[in-house]
Amino acid sequence: MIQKIDSPVSVKLVFDSKEKRVFPEEIIWNEKVYSIVKLGLHHTFKKGKVLYHAFSVTSKTLFFKLILNTETLHWNLEQIADEF
């Protein structure tokens, strides 16, 4: 089941300079730590002039849609879903 969230979230983002790859390794939400095991899709969109990066990722049991506002560099959790 997919649930809309819209809540600030802490994200540990890693940049691998050799692979030129960006990966959200860990998130902390509701005082729980989730290790990210898979990046489904990374895409971008704009609202006005502000560029957002969307990372669709999964931990072992949950799906998260994380949004990075490139103007504030703040992260927001937009969606979660469990295994169906």
């Binding site: 489904g40 895409h43 006005g48």
Partner: protein
Amino acid sequence: MNFKNYINTNTLNLDFNPNPSFIMHLDINSCFATIEQQVNPFLRGKPLVVAAYDSPGGCVIAPSIEAKKIGIRVGMRVKDAKEIFPDVFVLTPDPWKYRSVHLALRKILLSYTNNLVAKSIDEFVLNLEGYPCLREKSIKDVAKEIKLRIREEIGEWMSVSVGISTNRFLAKLASSFHKPDGLDEININNYQKVYSGLKLTDLSGIKSRNAFRLNMMNIFSVLDFYNSPLWKLKASFKSINSYYWFLRLRGWEIDDFETSRKSYGNSYALPKPFKDLNKLSPILMKLVEKMSFRLRKANLKTQGIHLALYYRDGSFWHQGVKTSRVLFDTRDIYKEMLRLLGLSYLGKPVREISVSCFNLVKAKSSQLEFFDDVLKKEKLTESIDEINNRWGEFVVYLAKMVNTKDYVPDRIAFGGVKELEEFTLE
């Protein structure tokens, strides 16, 4: 080599194009649904649909490959899909995901050729003639490499069907043979075998009426169609189409033209069947605002508007008018549209509203008017557009639209590629 070299003086004995295949047609399989499965691995391998709305009456716009296998089709209602498979997962569209994948795919394809046309959000046509990628590899190997790169660079769940031939029509036809993830070619060596396995209505552009026309001339199969002389096709179609089909089936190019933009339009399928003017007019204004914002962004104005209404009972009404004044301001275009709406069958529940403008003109200096301060209006619309450009659409909007927040969401036009130009070029 041009087909004219192969054509006899009476144009009746044109053979199949003997040139190597340079045209490649790429089609993302079950595009929106596959992208959703790429995004969320928990959805992979499961029947899901992307629908305009997730309510029972919502129209299915993209079933996943698994949903197609159990009989769920594009155009079905969500409730019908649920009747086939009660646990089918229903998602609403997320256009930016799909645009993003389209752009990523375009980037990969541009590394092979500049001669590239996006036919829609999920379809590309490439012409590889003369490009270096074919020096060391066959076109089939290039297609295999593209498939691999899509999996590596966009996502491992993404698959495309590829068709290869000497013209766009046959390349598209070939791409439909083995879905998903197919790779097929139609060329001089196999066209007879391929045609013998097809029905007339398997050809894109031949539906029951055209098939009937052909049947009237004793053309019942694609091979009959291919073997028919031009005079017979002329007698069937009674138009230039006969000649186009004559060339298409022989692998000669006739579809490589691109039309320039002649109009801007937006449409919206209503979530409820509204029938009175008070309910319809704010939605009409929002559609007009979306359309005119795009029009002004392209530095254009309009001298023609068109309104179309699709009713719940299946009927249809539309009217277009050329305007005496050049229009650019949402309020002026809305006034004209409202006038047209007043001429429609008010009182009948409306299913879909569609607005468009035509007779486009470059937005150079404006014709001043006696009673209206055009320059002031221009400055006001420019300022509002600038604010909305900076902070996001509908940050500043007309009061009439105050309760329309949930109406007319961002969507990708069916089969349309013109809107893709707008975000691709940004």
